[in-house]
Every structure is written in structure tokens, then in C-alpha cells.
């Protein structure tokens, strides 16, 4: 891995439905996260190479992503495949979106991005139960400091449930916290961990 790059969580895999997309940030850099209709997830720079329009305003069309502005369509490799205003021209190979490397592990979509610290993508990939992603109006360093690192595998013991709490640095003042429970759990456990997250969010925002 290149020094100074890290793997950052950007979404719960379960919450990213096939054929949908949304925009988010890592250290202020805007990315679009989307899942094609075959079920593969993608993380791209949130910028159309045409006019710089935010791609997250656009739509998934099968295996392609379409910009809202002029309908340019990009395939899963980020290569432009269709320019609707000129449907007959062969699109030059140079027109492509900048992609990030991404993986799904532990029920979370992770992307590789430049960062202050080197972070590994989680190696293990056991079954997890999705809870939720909370956005906290507090700096990433404050959230991480308060959260602690958990046990050796980064698990937190929340009411005897093994919870993975993966922080996403949105900006200097905002942090997203992705929560999953290891193993298979039901609605009551998900609600309990969600309530813990809501209380944590309130505590951190009061103190921030």
C-alpha cells in the first residue's frame, strides 16, 4: 500500500440499494458511491469530466452511471460510453471518471483515499448485521478519541453486542459513524445499538 493512503468507510453495504447512488466526502473530497444493477458497488470522484457537474446528482442506468447535466454515461470502469448529444460518435478513451479503489468488508463499503494516517482495509469479512450510519457534528479526531479503539479486532462491547463502529472523516468538523454488529441479530439488537449511537452523537455534539 502507498504510504499516506488509507481505507475509509463510506457506506453500509446493505443500505446501498442496487441502482442507487449518493454523494459523500472523505476529508472534504467529494465522492459518489453507487451500486450497479448487478450488485457491484463503486466509489468515484464526484465530478463529471465534461463540465465538472456533481455526478451524485445523476442516476444509475444498469451497469452505467449517467450525469444529470447532459446525460453522459460512464461504464463501471469509468469510461465514457455515450454522449447523447452526439450518439453516433465513437467516444474517445481519454474521457473517463477518476475512480477510487473500493471493497466491501464486514458489511461496509470502504474506499482508498489519501489521508493523514495509513489505515488498512479490514482483512476479515465475517457476517454482520447492519445498524445505521450516524452523522456527528464533531471532528473526526474527537470522535475517534472518544470512541477508543475497542478490542484487538476493533470491536466495541455495546450491551454485550460486538459492535464495529467505523468512523468516516467527512470534514474537519463532521464525522460519519458506520455501525454494524458482528454476527446475525434481530430488530431489538439493532434498535439497542442505534439508541447507543444516538446517545453517543448527542454526547459528542454537546462536548464538541
Amino acid at each position: 500500500m502507498i504510504a499516506g493512503t488509507g481505507w475509509y468507510p463510506v457506506a453500509l453495504a446493505d443500505g446501498l440499494e442496487a441502482g442507487t447512488s449518493f454523494g459523500t466526502r472523505v476529508h472534504g473530497r467529494e465522492v459518489v458511491v453507487w451500486r450497479d444493477t448487478e450488485g457491484n458497488s463503486h466509489v468515484w470522484e464526484d465530478r463529471c469530466p465534461h463540465r465538472g457537474m456533481r455526478l451524485s446528482f445523476g442516476f444509475v442506468r444498469g451497469g452505467h452511471f449517467a450525469c444529470l447535466y447532459h446525460g453522459w454515461q460512464f461504464d463501471a470502469a469509468g469510461q465514457c460510453r455515450l454522449i447523447p448529444a452526439h450518439p453516433d460518435i465513437a467516444v474517445p478513451n481519454t474521457i473517463r471518471v477518476t475512480r477510487a479503489r473500493s471493497v466491501e468488508r464486514l458489511g461496509i463499503v470502504w474506499m482508498q483515499a489519501p489521508g493523514e494516517v495509513e489505515l488498512e482495509a479490514p482483512a476479515e469479512n465475517g457476517p454482520t448485521t447492519p445498524v445505521r450510519t450516524l452523522t456527528i457534528e464533531a471532528s473526526p479526531s474527537f470522535v475517534i478519541e472518544h470512541l477508543g479503539s475497542g478490542d484487538n479486532a476493533g470491536r466495541h462491547d455495546i450491551g454485550r453486542l460486538p459492535v464495529i463502529a467505523a468512523p468516516q472523516p467527512l470534514s474537519g468538523t463532521e464525522t460519519a459513524l458506520h455501525l454494524v454488529i458482528e454476527g446475525s441479530h434481530g430488530s431489538a439488537e439493532r434498535k439497542a445499538v442505534s439508541a447507543w449511537g444516538v446517545a453517543l452523537r448527542a454526547r459528542l455534539e454537546r462536548a464538541a
Binding site: A11, G15, F22, L68, R132, T135, L170, K191, S194
Partner: protein, 207 residues
Amino acid sequence: MILYDFELDENCYKVRLLLSALGLAHEKITVDMHPGGEERSEAMLALNPTGGLPILMEDGVALHGAEAILLALAHRHDPGRTWLPAHPARFGEVAKWLHFAAVDFAPAVMARRNALFDAPCDIGDVTRKAKHALRILDDHMTIREFDGAAWIVGERPSLAEFSLFPSVALSRDYGVEHEAYPALRRWMRQVRGLPGFITMPGIPGYH
């Protein structure tokens, strides 16, 4: 039935959504809110002394306030109670969320008018309040998803969907992204799939 309407107004959009879902024939009269300020003209104040839109005129009675109009339309034109549950507890919950839409999302309406039309307000304050309302709704829909439910109240979509969808879906107009509201992203997709769903400027159709 006459709807006094301004296309860019999200409160008018609430009523247009229900009229479309019910398939109700109506006449639409465009009132130039911006830049004309026509909703505060003498003729319009005679229909709604508070000087706002939408206004619905039916059988010579003028109603104002989007949530009041939604309730009146459902009561009168939806005998199957498709959009307004007859069950007492569910009815109460729908009423609660309609109130929430009218009161707690009022700052979102002000923030959007400031962004689009330069309407004066304390933009920092109204944006903070709008984000608070979005968070409350996202927290609610998160819990609903844990129970396998897709809608704000009960097992079916209701008037609550129509009253809350516009300010959520149009939040980018007032500078609030959907990034922080994952449950609302999924809920918006459900609402978009409702029979009779229509868009407005700022809400692109899937095309």
C-alpha cells in the same frame, strides 16, 4: 375545484402530489409568488388573509395551509381512506407528522426561499433548524426500517409522505445534501415509486 398554485413552491407541490395520486380533475390558477408577490394582492388576500399559497377553492369555500388542504381532500375524495388511515392510533400519528411538516419544516421553507428568491431571514438559524427536522425524520425512518416498515406511519403510504417529501427532496436547494440522511434517501425512492407520483423543478425524474 381550483388550486391557486405557484410551481416552484414546495407547499403547493404537496397538494399537487395528492391531487395526482387521487386523479382529481381540477383547475389550476398560477399565482406569481416570485417576483410578483401576487399572493399578497388584494384579490388573493380575500381568499387567504395570511397571504400564502396554496389555496384550494371547492364549493365556494377557500382553504389555505397545505396540510389542512391535504386533510380536507382526503376526507372528501378518498372514501377508501387510502391516504388517511381510519384506525384511530394511525390517524393520530399521521396528524402528528402533518403538524411536524407544517411547523418543524417551516424553517426549511424559509431557507429555500432565501436561497432561490433572496427572501430575508437568518439563514444560519433556519438552516440549523431544517437540519434538525431532517435528522428527526431520518432517525424515525431508521427505526421504521428495523421493523421492516417502508412508510412514515403504518403499513401504507399516507398523507405524511406527501407533506414531508417536498422539503426533504428539495433540501439541496437550500444547501443541505442528502449525505447525512441514509434512511431518507431510501424513503424518497419509495415515494418516487408511488402511483401518480409527479416531479417539480429541483426534483429530476428518473429518465
